[in-house]
Amino acid sequence: MTLIDALLQGILMGLLFALVALGLNIIFGVMNIVNFAHGEFLMIGMYTTYWTSLLLDIDPLLTLPVAALVGVLLGIASYYSLIRYLLRGPAIAQLFGTFGLMLFLRYLAQFLFGIDYRIIQKGLLIGKSLSIGPFIFDWTKLAAGILSLFAFAFVYYFLNKTKTGKALQATSINKEAASYMGIKTDKMNAIAWAIGGGTVGIAGGLLANFYYVYPTIGILFVMIAFACVALGGFGSIKGVFFAGLLVGILEMVFPVFGSLVNSDFLGPHFKFTIVYLTYFIIVVFRPQGLFGWKN
């Protein structure tokens, strides 16, 4: 793999990371709550695609709307059954609350589906690749990157061009001021959770096309998403996009770079250390993240 190969692959993964982190950042932006269960939402999106495609015998790509819908419903249900009540407690209760939700969903999945690593065997794009000149892309990853970009663009459009999107932004900037405009905070919170769940559901559906599905997969991606949110800037949609790309590129390019310079130190096992090291360096100089405005 050359550096340019790695760069292109990194961009595709980065687009997917950005979509995973988007919902986390919207929820944080609107209500200052870190959703630790976000990775489990991704895991549920993956299982949704896995089981729907297997049981209905349809192409995994066609299950994406189902994964999105399950994500939206999961987000809304989490908000109305749990999160709304946590808001009345201290910040630490919110922290432990979503942490508890994470453990609950993870072990519920383990109970229902077992600890097996599952992979989708059959699908339009699975196992196929596209060569453009010297570059070879897996179709599944190409689709994941491009469809993530579309989903991200759709949410970006929604937030910036629709009335409800602007009201969400207003609530995230100052919920008291927004309420003086007649904007109901509770409703905006629920919408944030719906978008958060829906986008990560789609991301899970896309990821299931080329990645193992298992109950504890969430932690790997939620840690990346945390880094993207902090790196891009809390509450910043633009920031989380570029941070996703940056993390995707770093993650792919460094191991290749390591093999080129023949260094064990920069091998694939070290890639996340590099990602988080970069993150630390950036936040030391810019604690609010690259595009952040929220304190």
Binding site: K166, A167, Q169, A170, I173, N174, A177, S179, Y180, G182
Partner: protein, 234 residues
């Protein structure tokens, strides 16, 4: 139009507004004056539904509103423009104004109101696509007032529009408020600038440590000896 009857409001169990009553009639400019900490902002926030009275009642157009939430009160036609202005800094001037019209489900009306605000405050039109956080204090206050007017409120409540402005701008701002009254808006104004605001109002209430100590027309209050004593130290 608005009738506040003997309300008591508490912050964490301690009453800060005691037994206050006031009313605002259609088309009136009523001002509540008093020094810092007299309970003026608390009073407005309570009418706006951000706080709820522990005693007494608030009626708007004959309907009890003191148990409603802020968004529901906004829908009834009461807009509160907070003291801290609370503009949406990362959004543009025009986006802020459009958010003011959130409860209207009619884009033509929103557009019409936008034109009206721009004619009232031409400065905002010049800066329509600028991020509102970069505006000067006076411009931010204009924006806060403009945003409050966007929903066609029946009653506009202004909390210290002169706060933090330089003296020349204070007069300009209060003139703008007086102008709103002449175009038929009903206004409840809260101010620390006692004399300036009594000068432009129809009627006024003087609040001290959470109690109404005097009420009357603007002229009566301006000439009242104890008010001169209390606020000018004469």
């Amino acid at each position: 139009m608005l009738r506040v009857t003997e309300i008591e409001v508490c912050y964490s169990g301690i009453p800060v507004v005691h037994n206050v009553s006031l009313h605002v009639g259609q088309g009136e400019l009523v001002t509540v004056v008093g020094s810092n900490g007299a309970g003026k902002s608390t009073l407005l926030k309570t009418i706006a539904g951000a706080l709820h009275p522990t005693k007494g009642s608030i009626q708007f157009e004959g309907k009890d509103i003191h148990k409603l939430s802020t968004p529901d009160i906004v829908k009834l036609g009461i807009t509160y423009i907070p003291e801290a202005r609370l503009i949406f800094g990362p959004l543009t001037v025009e986006e802020n104004l459009e958010l003011g019209a959130y409860i209207l489900n009619n884009s033509e009306e929103t557009k019409k109101n936008l034109d009206f605000i721009y004619s009232l405050f031409p400065r905002l039109k010049e800066r329509r696509s600028q991020l509102s956080g970069t505006l000067s204090g006076g411009e931010q206050q204009m924006l806060a007032i403009g945003r409050g007017l966007m929903s066609n409120p029946k009653l506009l409540m202004l909390d210290e529009p002169s706060l933090g402005l330089m003296p020349k701008l204070v007069d300009e701002m209060l003139e703008a408020v007086a102008k709103l009254r002449t175009i038929g808006k009903t206004i409840l104004l809260v101010e620390q600038k006692v004399f300036e605001s009594l000068d432009i109002c129809d009627r006024g209430y003087v609040l001290q440590t959470g109690r109404t100590i005097q009420e009357g027309t603007g002229k009566e209050l301006l000439n009242a000896e104890d008010i001169k004593k209390a606020f000018l130290g004469l």
